[in-house]
Symmetry: C2
Subunit: 221 residues, 2 copies
């Protein structure tokens, strides 16, 4: 358990970031139990900062804490995930519109670079790397919206969905390729400064991702 490159001011922040990172990297499974002592020992801190981090994650809808029983990762239903995608879709299209107003050439280059890295990660089969840069793509757009509330809500949606997708053990090549081409289309719209094309392709991307997930989910059952 590392991630110690970044120096934390408080242990609570360290534990929080550590757990959130595990969630985003699909290293924790839905419904998984998070015992305080286990985490404390594993991270080399006492139960106190662990408890604080767990409460924070719970208040963001990522954990469920039952008093006197303990914390576990939420176990979202299909409806929960569909609901999250509905909200995320509205938020990300809004962010896309706002970001387009603020975006300069350097920002566009950053995004092009991220998509290039996505493609590279897919070609090389580096799944974790792909997850990281894929998340970057959406985070950059959310950030460029210049609206911090919007950004934080989008990040939260992404985290909630990450928990659900953690049930998928091996990457589905079909989904990755499709997502990549949709990102390219969004990028194209940005390059052309075409607001409605950007909004529409972002909305399509959300709908497609959601649908792909559940068509895969059905195969599993």
């Amino acid at each position: 358990m590392l991630r110690e490159e970044k120096l934390y001011t408080t242990s609570s922040d360290y534990v929080y970031d550590e757990l959130l990172h595990k969630i985003l990297m699909r290293q924790l499974k839905p419904g998984e139990r998070l015992a305080e002592v286990n985490l404390a020992v594993a991270l080399g801190v006492s139960r106190t900062p662990v408890r604080e981090a767990l409460r924070r994650l719970a208040s963001q809808g990522l954990l469920e804490i039952i008093p006197n029983v303990g914390a576990r990762l939420v176990s979202p239903s299909q409806k929960d995930v569909e609901d999250t995608f509905k909200v995320r879709s509205v938020l990300e299209t809004t962010a896309m519109r706002l970001a387009l107003q603020n975006m300069d050439d350097a920002n566009l280059e950053d995004l092009e670079e991220v998509v290039a890295q996505e493609e590279k990660a897919i070609r090389r089969g580096e799944f974790e790397e792909y997850l990281a840069v894929n998340e970057d793509f959406h985070r950059i757009i959310a950030h460029l919206s210049g609206n911090e509330v919007l950004e934080s809500f989008i990040k939260n949606c992404i985290a909630r969905i990450s928990i659900y997708t953690a049930i998928i053990d091996s990457p589905i090549h079909e989904i990755l390729e499709s997502s990549l081409s949709e990102h390219k289309k969004i990028l194209e719209a940005i390059r052309e400064r075409d607001v409605s094309k950007a909004e529409n392709s972002m909305e399509e991307h959300m709908i497609n991702t959601s649908n792909f997930l559940f068509s895969y989910g059905k195969k599993m059952v």
Copy 2:
């Protein structure tokens, strides 16, 4: 410090609800310092549950915690509030649309009753009562959307805006009246099952509320 009618399973929840209630009722001012010991003594608990509650509120963007210094209520800039209203507008119009699909006659009656209570509170000059039922109006619609993520985000926006409006010491009759008539218009659209009218009047309501706040804010400076 009461609110003990509801029995809490944990002290942490109690402290959290107590603080959130004070925020929504404008009893705390932007930038106000929240010292752990003060709260602990006032609420009759130790620092531990207070700290947990403070972290939760901070992770929702309501408090700012500086390590080794302490927690204070955020002090949102005008841009922060405008950003929050932008997000809230998108979310509440979405909620309005979804709620209209789920709403039955009993739900409509509940809303009618809430608006009637708003009017009563205004006529009687009961400001705190007004704040409570006004919040209910939006909360009920958010809840009827049937989308829990959407609902939680809307509640968060409302809390963020409550902090800003706490700078207004005495109720502005003009705003209350205007808000009431907008709620009536929304209700009318719901009665007529007119989706686009409902969405539009909700969006207008958001824009007007935001504008009213800042035209008032300018008078103060």
